[in-house]
């Protein structure tokens, strides 16, 4: 980034009086241009304009820096596709997604904490039968038998809840990042039975880097941050009359729990995936693990 050296931390203090007057008039003019907008849109855009103008002024932003920002956004847009979302990665790595998630959580404080959706969710995952191995049974990694219960805030089971699950493979890739792969892998939709339960086999999730070959990866590299996510499995759980829960279960003792690059780790959803000493059922190989977890869904408001 080309920069011009600036001395004042708040450049608006250092503006010549005629420039300060012109700046104030300009910002007012821009704010007023949104006066006729629908209420919520007006609020958001006037707030955005205020923040953008303050950012430019306080930092005495140079044209070279502005051009860099335009180019950054352009490159982010061009690398974004049906299976790659650089703007979500940007939101994630700037902590905006996790902040939104905290606000979302605060609306349903009694439910299982939510976590960010992330960029790898695919609408309409394949319907899978109870007990499926979503790894297809041939991927590297410790086999995990997941026993999931979905209940309401009073611990009453929720039957026929729709549970979407997705995770990365042992090398840290989601299926949509592997163009040679045929069909969904480590991804699917199951439904709870009459007791609010379902089970599936998978593999222990590994830590992995977020896609870092684009502008967001360059940003992380430029500021000396690693691109790693702590190991986790994604869940999206929906049931009639319930608030849809988007969350992740993190592997207790896993790497990067303290420096997850998207600031997504929460204590309450960091859970054990204990190694089992019994012989693995159904021809699965040892060492194998279990994941037992009950999700609590809040009523829709």
């Amino acid at each position: 980034m080309t920069t011009t050296t600036r001395s004042a931390p708040d450049a608006s203090d250092a503006l010549a009086p005629e420039t300060a007057t012109a700046v104030k008039a300009l910002t007012q003019e821009v704010l007023q241009s949104f006066d006729q907008a629908p209420a919520r849109l007006r609020t958001l855009l006037q707030s955005l304009v205020g923040h953008l103008h303050t950012f430019v002024l306080d930092n005495d932003l140079t044209e070279a820096e502005w051009r860099y920002a335009i180019d950054f956004l352009t490159r982010a847009g061009h690398i974004t596709s049906d299976t790659r979302q650089e703007f979500i990665l940007l939101s994630d790595t700037l902590g905006v997604s996790s902040l939104l998630d905290l606000l979302t959580n605060s609306r349903t404080p009694e439910s299982t904490p939510s976590a960010v959706l992330g960029p790898f969710y695919v609408e309409g995952p394949p319907n899978l039968p109870e007990g499926t191995d979503i790894s297809g049974g041939h991927l590297d990694g410790d086999p995990v038998l997941a026993n999931i219960t979905v209940s309401d805030l009073q611990s009453r089971p929720i039957p026929d809840a729709v549970v979407d699950v997705w995770q990365a493979n042992q090398d840290g890739f989601y299926d949509v990042q592997l163009p040679d792969l045929e069909g969904p892998v480590l991804r699917g939709r199951l439904r709870t039975d009459t007791k609010g339960r379902l089970s599936f086999w998978t593999i222990l999730p590994a830590p992995y880097p977020i896609p870092d070959d684009g502008p967001v990866g360059q940003m992380l590299s430029a500021v000396g941050r690693h691109p790693m996510r702590a190991p986790h499995v994604h869940f999206m759980i929906a049931a009639p009359g319930k608030h849809t829960l988007v969350t992740q279960l993190f592997v207790e003792g896993g790497d990067y729990l303290d420096s997850d690059t998207v600031f997504g780790v929460k204590q309450a959803i960091t859970v054990p995936f204990p190694v089992q000493n019994d012989p693995p059922p159904n021809g699965h190989v040892a060492p194998w693990r279990r994941l037992d977890f009950t999700f609590h869904l809040a009523d829709q408001t």
Copy 2:
């Protein structure tokens, strides 16, 4: 845009204590993640994070609104090409480009005021001889004979200054917006003679809408703003040892001078294009006009 009704103007006041604590901790963690960045980058990214988080909190942004923003940026990226720059249009229509321009101007207060570059500049325009008609002589619109002088702040002529000029046609289109057009039209590069002068023929610029078939156009429409720019001719003037001047000359008496959608009009560069009573020279048709203007360039600092 789907919105949830919010009552508090500043939602952070209304957060439950545990949420407020978690939010504060998250923002601190994100800010600290940039502590090791190079100084200017750290300043800009920490300032950006502060503004983004405040924006989300103060407006109690919903996930639906966040998704709309991600989608807006994605669509802006996908419509952006070598000849269409939606992020510059966004910067322009939110007044950010004009604000930057005011800051740029404040560094060279004695020179001719600058104006925004706009999205239609093309690097390396064709070199044209003195007296060229950049309209090719066959476009609708009043012919204009432009007599341009380039001087320094002491009004001493600057010979061999490189003067790039570009403008829209009578219908409001730049050449790069017309895929069927062969080669540059209403666009070119000239050089001043030993007296700092050059002249060319063109046509009177017309008001025109910025490209409004993309997300920025949808934003303008949603808030009840028109997409029109006041009529103008773009100039970029470079000379050894001088600060390169990027500016526009606006047509005195033209439409939209008071509501230019990119907030770009300045009094000092709004100039007459007077109709001439003499018969037009060189076979040009009546009514014809003149544009006489002297640009003053500041020394490079």
